[in-house]
């Protein structure tokens, strides 16, 4: 089974993306907690792409594809904004964030802790984030 959705880069579309992922996952009969975790991981990546990579420019788009391969679900999220530099990524220190009153910067940590594999690839124009989660 494979499915995809294409939305423009506004934060309001995050709800649409979550509903799309929820609808897809519903067929897989997952627990509430696992389903919420997977929806969250996809939401976090899409929020980052919309806000940071594409600066909430409604003329830009991202595409989300989802498929189940054997015992794992795979998400492919593509855009043409600024590529995420995984090599520069540092895990956040939450206590430090609290001390500093920092609002952002914990989304990718959630994604890394929820998903089994997280990859970012780019060909210079098109960037794709690949998320894998074992579900059986």
């Amino acid at each position: 089974m494979s499915n995809s959705i294409r939305v423009n880069c506004t934060k309001k579309n995050l709800k649409l993306i979550r509903d799309f992922v929820t609808e897809y996952l519903r067929t897989l009969a997952l627990s509430d907690i696992l389903m919420n975790q997977i929806v969250l991981a996809v939401d976090e990546i899409c929020a980052n792409l919309i806000i940071h990579a594409n600066h909430e420019d409604p003329s830009k788009y991202l595409t989300l594809k989802v498929q189940t391969v054997k015992d794992q679900v795979k998400f492919e999220i593509s855009d043409q904004g600024r590529a995420f530099e995984q090599s520069n990524y540092r895990e956040p220190n939450i206590q430090e964030h609290i001390r500093m009153g920092k609002k952002g910067g914990v989304g990718i940590a959630l994604v890394n802790r929820i998903m089994d594999k997280v990859e970012f690839v780019t060909d210079g124009t098109q960037n794709t984030c690949l998320l894998y989660k074992k579900i059986r």
Binding site: N36, I94, G101, L110
Partner: protein
Amino acid sequence: MPMKITQEIRDNTVILTLDGELDASSSVILDEELSDPEIMKYTMVLVNCQNLNYISSAGLGVFISHLQRFEDAQIRLIFYNMQDKVRNVFEILGLDLLMTIVSDYEEARSIANE
């Protein structure tokens, strides 16, 4: 509107009831609510999460960003009636150990009165 926040005042306590989903789009209104200088007049902020169906890092970030300010002002921030799937998101980052999450209103009140 994906998030509705209702505010209720009882003595020295502000009770915020969250209804809906807290994501990168809707968390702005929670931030406005917690940034309101009026809130600093109280000693407790209780957050009823019964109808909070979803939270992303943006929603968590709003609570993270206000926690120290509340602690400095000796205001207790207590979450209650949290759904398991939402609590799980706090747990993934270890926030359940840094914030006070209790099962229901009675427990929240008894902790607040300590």
